[in-house]
């Protein structure tokens, strides 16, 4: 790995610019990774290790890594961090960077399309299962409410997500 101060400065200003304000507080203790369900599930670049790579200016090198999308936003990392880094915000900042560079992982694109089309990030057709247990086939949610769907799409279209031109 080549250490280049310009790349380090760029990585830090990018992440801080996207909301990862506490990144420079990190002393690499690893408490965040110890409690992170994403790390436990095997995503390599979350919490400590993600911050470490960013501190080395490895922004482009890891842009295609899908680990950040494995973050469940549980925020346990923020609770245990002794330095006020708020690692989840660093992960989210990195996601924003990835999204702006259109470097989504496949799984995250599917979720976002689901969100746009049904109002649910995770969606499977519920009708048959509901019918079997004697419930009305359609859920009382946005998935079957054209007005709600329209409002959600309006919100997304008018958010930074809409500016990416995915939908």
């Amino acid at each position: 790995m080549i250490i280049d101060q310009k790349k380090i400065d760029e990585a830090i200003s990018t992440i801080v610019g996207y909301g990862g304000h506490g990144m420079l507080n990190c002393v690499q203790c690893g408490a965040c990774s110890a409690v992170c369900p994403g790390v436990k599930a095997g995503f390599p670049l979350l919490c400590r290790n993600l911050i470490r790579h960013l501190m080395y200016g490895q922004l482009e090198e890891i842009i295609e890594d899908s680990s950040s999308w494995g973050c469940q936003a549980c925020n346990r990392c923020t609770e245990v961090c002794p330095q006020g880094v708020r690692p989840q915000e660093v992960v989210f900042a990195f996601r924003r960077y990835q999204a702006n560079q259109l470097a989504f992982s496949t799984s995250s694109v599917t979720s976002q399309m689901n969100l746009y089309e049904t109002g649910h990030a995770v969606y499977t057709d519920p009708r048959e299962a509901r019918k079997r247990v004697g419930l009305p086939e359609q859920t009382p949610t946005s998935a079957f409410d054209d007005q709600a769907k329209k409002e959600i799409q309006t919100l997304i279209n008018n958010s930074p997500m809409g500016e990416l031109g995915l939908f």
Partner: protein, 669 residues
């Protein structure tokens, strides 16, 4: 007949967890002359001591044996207790059944119990033969000697002087101030080092109770607590300090150059020089080794006379000095002068040196752009070779990338196993000072780990990260010199488990703190001992951090082990308090356990004299013949002379033959 009381201690589970205390007590009761044997959970507790005192007051016992722990920590407690109850304090013997029993034989309770019985029997054997002894007192000289004029020595001297004791402050350099005077700023507050040090130097130098002996070294020390005699060599300055005004004119006119040690050899000074601008005393010195003897003005010769003017031809330094402090006609003694002083206590505060970069062959020591941290300190100091401008040595250009490497020679079994304690913090300090001034400079710091354990230190370290200073976990393996005077840094980052590399303009090595070589010579003069990491050994690592094995000699600062300025000042003040104790009391107690020569038996062979580690024995004339005599206040009661005396003329009180034979008899029974 002696009436011996034996008291066996459980020491909680320390002893009773292994040894059958009740069995030892029962056994002790059966020993000859033992009139009572008791046991207690903690003999050193108030109730334990009271039990012994009551037996004495009741007239039950007149010899006391406590079977417990080590006499090193507890003998004074029990001696004081029996003295309070009206018994001579030397009628006491301790059986160490903890350190020599339960602690070392934890795997064998039965064996440990049997051993405890033997140790106790041995103590009883000795106790039966004990005789009362009396302590003696000798008066003290109310003055102190502080060796070393750094921040430690200055603080120690000031503390003693403020308590009203006459204090001699001896410094080998022409000015006091020590290494702190070379520093630019200090962590964790970024105080200017000179700004906080200089007022203390002035205060010490002008204190009515402090006599500063600068450019002087301790030649010899003899005597003992309360009554030391020291010979101080005042080195030859070749300048009359009583006239020198410190104007510096001679230093400007002197043409001879020598490497400036104050700037760590990175610039030259003249042969006639003032150590640094804030020097205290601010006096010039002529470094005769580098002096050119201008105009043929060898020291102690008459000047040639100018035939035209009829005036003497003087050297530039002489001519420059308007105060007439320099005269090369005077036959100065190159050895200087010896000053003899008498003091009651001595504080050693001789400080440290940092390792030279030349030791580290893998770190491209030949490159001028590889510097030690102390050299960088001079580079960024306003009084340094670049007047505070951060310029790399090779081409005097501003560097763009700076590398800091920790643990050079520290935590490394090739050099020193100890941690030098201050490197992490001063590297962070230097990095912060540079980054605050030049935010676009790349600063890469390589640590095995960051040790920031002091008040405000961790905050200082995290603050450095916030400034955008890069920290890498892992030590640099090597440097490669590149054609443009840059250095390729070959490092490893254990966080990402990957090799890293980059080019650097300036590399700073945090080289280890160690004891200077000349401190070893001083140690021999003072009888100081060394610890495992080769610093002066304190009496006890926790409970005697300023005392030494020699009573009346104390330690302060880095000569005892690496420490930062706050710790050095704390230790210096503690050492001053300890050193003032004998001075304040006006007399010192001489314990009765010392050796004595029976002159009528002594043959005057003198074997004992060179054997005595405390130089306590000399020859006197007794009944017209030479006889050995022991100076009681210098004797430590080690017993070397007693065992070596071929005539059996020397008795060690408290360890007399009858007592030792009784012990052996009990152990071999």
């Amino acid at each position: 007949m002696a009436k011996v009381g034996v008291y066996v201690c459980h020491c909680g589970s320390n002893i009773a967890g292994v040894i059958d205390v009740a069995a030892v007590r029962d056994f002790a009761e059966s020993l000859p002359d033992v009139v009572v044997a008791r046991k207690d959970l903690f003999m050193c507790s108030e109730s334990g001591q009271e039990m012994v005192k009551q037996d004495i007051r009741d007239g039950l016992v007149d010899r006391v044996v406590v079977a417990a722990c080590t006499p090193r920590t507890h003998e004074p407690i029990f001696r004081a207790a029996i003295e309070k109850a009206g018994l001579n304090k030397y009628l006491f013997e301790m059986a160490n059944i903890r350190d020599q029993g339960s602690w070392v034989h934890g795997h064998d309770p039965e064996g440990a119990t049997e051993k405890a019985k033997k140790i106790t029997a041995s103590a009883v054997g000795k106790a039966r033969n004990l005789e009362p002894l009396e302590d003696k007192f000798v008066p003290v000289t109310d003055a102190a000697l502080v060796i070393g004029g750094g921040i430690g020595g200055i603080n120690a001297a000031l503390a003693l002087a403020n308590m009203g004791h006459k204090t001699y402050l001896v410094e080998k350099q022409p000015s006091i101030g020590g290494i702190m005077a070379q520093l630019d700023k200090t962590f964790p507050s970024n105080d200017c080092s000179a700004c906080i040090l200089t007022p203390m130097m002035v205060e010490a130098y002008s204190h009515p109770n402090i006599e500063t002996l600068a450019y002087a070294e301790v030649e010899d020390v003899s005597g003992y607590i309360g009554n030391f005699k020291a010979k101080i060599r005042q080195k030859q300055t070749y300048v009359d300090w009583s006239k020198c005004t410190g104007c510096g004119d001679c230093t400007e006119k002197c043409p001879a150059k020598a490497p400036d040690d104050f700037n760590c050899g990175m610039s030259d000074r003249r042969a006639a020089y003032i150590m640094f601008p804030q020097a205290m005393p601010k006096k010039a010195v002529i470094d005769i080794e580098h002096c050119l003897n201008c105009a043929g003005r060898e020291i102690g010769t008459l000047p040639k006379v100018n035939e035209k003017t009829g005036r003497p031809i003087l050297a530039p330094c002489e001519r420059a000095c308007t105060a007439e402090a320099i005269s090369r006609t005077i036959a100065h003694n190159p050895q200087g002068a010896i000053k003899e002083i008498e003091v009651g206590s001595i504080i050693v505060a001789t400080g440290y040196q940092v390792m030279d970069k030349g030791w580290f062959k893998e770190m491209a020591p030949a490159s001028p752009n590889v510097v030690t941290a102390l050299q960088l300190e001079r580079i960024i100091s306003a009084t340094g070779p670049t007047e505070g401008k951060l310029l790399r040595p090779s081409d005097k250009e501003k560097p763009h990338t700076i590398t800091f490497i920790s643990c050079m020679g520290s935590r490394d079994e090739h050099f020193h196993n100890h941690c030098s304690r201050v490197c992490c913090m001063y590297m962070i300090k230097q990095a912060r000072l540079i980054k605050e001034k030049y935010p676009d400079m790349a600063i890469n710091m390589h640590f095995i780990d960051v040790r920031a354990g002091g008040k405000g230190y961790n905050e200082y370290y995290v603050g450095a990260r916030n400034l955008g200073i890069n920290f890498f976990r892992g030590k640099v393996g090597g440097l490669e010199m590149l054609p443009d005077d840059k250095l390729r840094v070959l490092a490893y980052d254990s966080d990402t488990q990957s090799n890293i590399e980059y080019e650097s303009d300036l590399v700073v090595l945090a080289t280890a703190i160690e004891l200077p070589k000349d401190a070893t010579v001083l140690a021999q003069k003072l009888g100081l001992q060394f610890c495992g990491s080769n610093f002066f050994r304190e009496l006890h690592p926790k409970l005697g951090p300023v005392e030494t094995a020699t009573e009346g000699i104390f330690l302060a600062g880095c000569c005892q082990g690496p420490k930062d300025i706050p710790n050095t000042v704390s230790q210096a003040k503690a050492a001053a308090a300890a050193a003032a104790a004998p001075l304040a009391q006006g007399q010192v107690r001489i314990e009765a356990v010392i050796s004595e020569v029976h002159p009528e038996v002594c043959s005057g062979c003198g074997i004992c004299i060179p054997l005595c580690p405390y130089h306590a024995i000399n020859m006197i004339t007794y009944a017209d013949r030479p006889r050995a005599q022991i100076e009681m206040s210098a004797c430590k009661g080690c017993g070397v002379c007693t065992s070596a005396c071929p005539s059996g003329a020397i008795v060690l009180h408290g360890y007399e033959e009858s007592q030792i034979f009784a012990q052996i008899e009990a152990l071999t029974a």
